[in-house]
Symmetry: C2
Subunit: 316 residues, 2 copies
């Protein structure tokens, strides 16, 4: 995509900007995977170092009246740990940058840090550095380093004939966000799913060992991520809605808000479920659910046709 010289970030969109940035940064022999996948992979003897970075901005990625500081900490850690999971790696070490107004209570920052450390500890990962500075709004910048002993599973390996499979809760966090946005605090299980996602941390390595051909975590929305897989792999992906059992709390929210609860599942991110392709049904591991298939072509369809609802989240 060519951009005008005076285009703004709003004009370019997140992916337009990234596409431009990737052109500027050159890799080298030590970069096995550079910008464009869930994480970068660096050549290190006896296993690779895997590194990924994410930003969270108050009011956009979290609200202090919707989640406690510890919740925000848990979520910030989870979304980064999930990026290593999505490579088939094991998260080990993290850094945190915290930019915040001078009138932010120290207690908030400490509770945030405690929640963050707690989520990391559940995986045996630790925070090894950081930076704090003053800013008008809270911006949290996390970088996570992991190790990967087998080949990392990229977005680009899906082949026609593969099956598409999902593991982990999907749509719950989006349902929780929807009720919070209407001023409600229940169903509590969905609100908690938004506040403290529970990514399937063991499933990335499991998928890699089972021979997954492509792997991604669902942070921008299920159909959006399927689109990333399809584009990177040069294939078409069809998602079958009959594969999803809509859990009762999502049905209740759909009924209360007058929305199709399937929208939360197809368009929702934030649960950090894992989406993978496997060469055949027999190779899909325990705990994974087949939700679609891979064919020649391009783009994402739902039940064989175009999908008109929201497919995910955009940053600009």
């Amino acid at each position: 995509m060519a951009l005008d010289a005076d285009a703004t970030l709003g004009d370019a969109g997140e992916f337009g900007l990234i596409a431009e940035l990737v052109e500027i940064f050159e890799g080298d022999d030590h970069v096995l995977v550079g910008p464009g996948d869930d994480a970068a992979v660096l050549r290190i003897k006896h296993g690779h170092v895997v590194v990924s970075t994410d930003l969270m901005v108050e009011g956009r990625h979290f609200r202090r009246d919707w989640a406690s500081a510890a919740d925000v900490g848990h979520r910030a850690a989870a979304q980064n740990l999930s990026d290593i999971n999505a490579m088939g790696g094991t998260a080990r070490h993290l850094t945190i940058g915290l930019a915040a107004p001078a009138d932010l209570p120290v207690a908030w920052a400490l509770d945030f840090a405690r929640g963050f450390a707690e989520e990391c500890a559940s995986l045996g990962a630790t925070v090894v550095g950081g930076d704090v500075t003053r800013a008008d709004e809270i911006v949290i910048a996390v970088t996570v380093l992991g190790q990967c002993f087998q080949s990392p599973v990229l977005r680009s390996g899906a082949r026609p004939g593969d099956v598409l499979a999902l593991t982990g809760r999907q749509g719950w966090a989006a349902g929780g966000l929807a009720v919070l946005g209407r001023g409600f605090r229940s169903p509590r299980v969905l609100v908690e799913a938004y506040r403290r996602p529970e990514p399937p941390y063991a499933a990335g390595k499991q998928a890699a060992e089972a021979g997954a051909t492509a792997l991604i975590d669902v942070s921008d929305g299920l159909l959006a991520e399927a689109g990333h897989l399809a584009e990177a792999s040069g294939v078409a992906i069809d998602v079958r809605t009959g594969a999803f059992e809509v859990p009762e709390p999502l049905q209740a929210v759909g009924a209360a808000l007058g929305a199709d609860p399937l929208q939360f599942i197809l368009g929702g991110g934030d649960d950090h479920a894992l989406l993978a392709t496997f060469p055949d049904l027999a190779s899909v591991p325990s705990g994974w659910h087949v939700v679609g298939e891979v064919a020649e072509g391009e783009g994402v369809t739902v039940d064989g046709g175009a999908y008109e609802g929201p497919t995910g989240w955009t940053h600009f």
Copy 2:
């Protein structure tokens, strides 16, 4: 330092907050150096991975009317690359997070990225990942990974009897910042030193190989960094002003602004000079200048007495 439960970040100050955070984060057997030094060092077979992270906020760490986007990119890279230098390591890979308003011109972001990549390329380091998102103000979050094949040189190794030595320009960037703050654009050499610092990238490894006992880069101000060394090592440091030759442009700025030019040298950061201690005069390598000495005791003195001027920069 004990903080009240309702204390703000402004109350705690940067170092107070960090001290609290460090208490929360536990290391593990793989963390050779965790929070509190210039960078974290992680145990990796055949050399260690060194990682450090930094934030820059518009209006606080840079101004778009004082420096071009490429300048800001150069500076953001330099200050991070310098942190690896300050461990005696070699910078290899970086990630960038960019939070910015939607009306930021794409050209600014791209020029920033080009400047950043250019500074990295001068060392053979490369950008391997990143994140972009929307925010009210520009926040740049950089993480740098490096390798270290010998033992890293920490802040805590200075011993009584050691000599204190400096390499790289010192005070130039502070002089440039001072003239920009008064609305001037010259002396140009100082303004350029602020816009594009030239850290002595080869000197960190040089100092490590020469047997430096402690090492730090000067980003918060020379006396402030000497204070960090003294505190971490449990020693007293005396800085001798007679050791500094005040360069002509700094003399000119001092005369124009009615300030003692030595203030720029003693209080200035941003040049990312390196400050180290060595066991004796004979071990101080070529290119380094002896600027003081280490004794039993605590704190930093200047020419044997207390210093009343500004000693550095605080973030809250």
